[in-house]
């Protein structure tokens, strides 16, 4: 196994039982994620993108193939679900601290660090607010802080910005990418938004419709605004890549 890989999926297939026998959702998926890189998976709705993440998280079994996560990185695995999944009885701070709490004893320094991270995401005045008192965007930001606060070595994201308005999404994309780079985590990011994938990813994996197969992989290199979700759209490679992925998805 190459030493620079953190995640490797080799010929992974998944079938769900159906009325007519078995319905294959994933068909021989091969994805390699290098250490510290972000891989975005794009594909049509319902093609099995989330199933790949569920298999990685151990929430779903695979029918065949191999899944490998580097042993030393497994303990620092964290994830951001599609729905923020904040526990309604916990405040923003308590929700953001959930990952640290699960990993061991909570120290005062941890609380200070998490509060700072929340403040960085514009939630400094909302630490003691319950999820019901926060907007959808705020809840999603708490979920992002919850996943990133313990400096994970591997981050799994399932369309974390899908329920956020366009403007907030752009600013969150920028903040998220900067924070991931700062932490240096290896990220697997599922999205159905091509523009988001082009801005965030070091590598884009395009999947076909069910049964999902890897159609093509891209390695976006943006000459302008690679650190800014708005400016990156001015890069000439952006529209070329967008059209190419769009054509792949239309096939």
């Amino acid at each position: 196994m190459p030493s620079f890989l953190d995640i490797k999926l080799k010929s992974v297939s998944k079938a769900f039982p159906s009325d007519t026998g078995e319905l294959f959702v994933l068909d021989s998926i091969d994805i390699n994620v290098e250490c510290g890189k972000m891989v975005c998976i794009v594909g049509p709705s319902g093609c099995g993108k989330t199933t790949i993440l569920r298999i990685l998280l151990g929430l779903e079994s695979r029918t065949s193939g191999q899944v490998w996560i580097r042993e030393t990185r497994k303990k620092g695995l964290s994830f951001i679900p599609q729905n923020p999944c904040l526990l309604p009885w916990r405040t923003a701070l308590q929700n953001a601290a959930f990952g640290t709490e699960i990993r061991g004893e909570m120290q005062k320094e941890d609380i200070a660090r998490i509060s700072d991270r929340l403040a960085l995401f514009g939630l400094g005045d909302f630490l003691s607010f319950l999820p019901a008192q926060l907007s959808g965007g705020m809840c999603q930001r708490v979920a992002i802080v919850r996943a990133l606060e313990s400096d994970p070595s591997i981050l799994i994201c399932d369309e974390p910005f899908s329920s956020i308005d366009f403007v907030t999404r752009l600013s969150l994309n920028t903040e998220f990418k900067a924070l991931c780079k700062l932490i240096g985590c290896t990220t697997m990011f599922v999205t159905h938004n091509i523009e988001e994938a082009i801005f965030l990813a070091d590598q884009i994996v395009v999947l076909s419709s069910v049964p999902a197969r890897v159609i093509r992989t891209y390695e976006p290199r943006l000459s302008i605004g690679s650190e800014d979700a708005v400016k990156c759209r001015r890069a000439p490679e952006f529209s070329v890549l967008f059209n190419s992925i769009w054509e792949d998805l239309k096939r």
């Binding site: 994830f79 679900p81 916990r90 609380i111």
Partner: protein, 266 residues
């Protein structure tokens, strides 16, 4: 848009209806001695209530019945809730044991009451056991349903963060089931009083049930109704207590599942 009625207005209506009913009852009782004998009159009930307070140790009977009910409620809720929630660990055990609990729980409490005398005697513990038995199955059933209906999103989120089975239970399932537990507590407030009351009806030398039974056997309807007022008062106190606990549920859920360093941080 229709505005909700003010609290003062609601209370004014409630009091008016109560006063009107009491006046009609009083007038009817004075006009018809037969009615006064079988249903008493508000003035007679008030007089008996005063007499019970001054000479009849009403407060003592009140404390005895209240003690039996609250002890039974606490025991029934603890045992039933703990059993119901713990079945979350094994869906198989839950499915296997549920019909047994439902079968035993569907037995009328009055049918089991004579057995309680055999097992616990005729004293305080028998009434507590009856109050406990009246509440334990509701608590079990609600807690089991609560634990089974915790959103998969929450449990999978916790597993995604590497939580162990116990961590998922104590940090997610237990607090997420609290709404069901509080709902069962509300139902059980009445059931625990009923259990204690039935116990006192079967055999007792103290308690509000004993006062009601003794007064009724002497055809002293106003005294029986005055003692019943004490039970209503007890039910109201229990209900307020349940409302108070329910109003602070978020804090209680945090206390149950969040580490103290995080809970009391500014």
């Amino acid at each position: 848009m229709r505005m909700p009625p003010s609290k003062a207005k609601i209370w004014a209506w409630r009091l008016s209806i109560l006063v009107l009913m009491l006046i009609l009852w009083e007038c009817w009782g004075r006009y018809s001695p037969k009615t006064a004998f079988f249903a008493g009159t508000p003035s007679q009930i008030a007089s008996e209530f005063h007499d019970l307070l001054v000479n009849g140790k009403l407060y003592w009977h009140f404390l005895v019945t209240g003690g039996e009910a609250i002890l039974g409620l606490a025991m029934g809720m603890t045992v039933g809730t703990a059993l119901g929630l713990s079945l979350w660990y094994s869906r198989m055990a839950g499915e296997v044991l549920r019909p047994f609990f439902l079968a035993v729980g569907s037995l009328p409490i009055l049918a089991i009451a004579p057995l309680m005398i055999v097992w616990f005697g005729v004293g305080f513990s028998m009434k507590v056991a009856l109050a406990c038995l009246s509440t334990v199955f509701v608590a079990f059933s609600q807690a089991h349903r609560g634990a089974s209906s915790v959103s998969k999103d929450y449990t999978e989120m916790a597993i995604g963060f590497g939580a162990s089975g116990n961590q998922v239970f104590f940090k997610v399932v237990l607090p997420a089931s609290c709404d069901w537990v509080f709902a069962s507590m509300r139902l059980n407030v009445g059931f625990s009083l009923l259990g204690a009351f039935i116990g006192e009806f079967i055999s007792s030398s103290q308690g509000l049930g004993h006062v009601v039974l003794r007064a009724a056997s002497l055809y002293n309807v106003p005294r029986a109704l005055a003692a019943s007022l004490g039970i209503t008062l007890l039910a109201c106190i229990f209900d307020r207590l349940a409302s108070y606990i329910e109003a602070h549920r978020d804090r209680l859920m945090q206390l149950a599942s969040v580490p103290h360093t995080l809970l009391f941080s500014k």
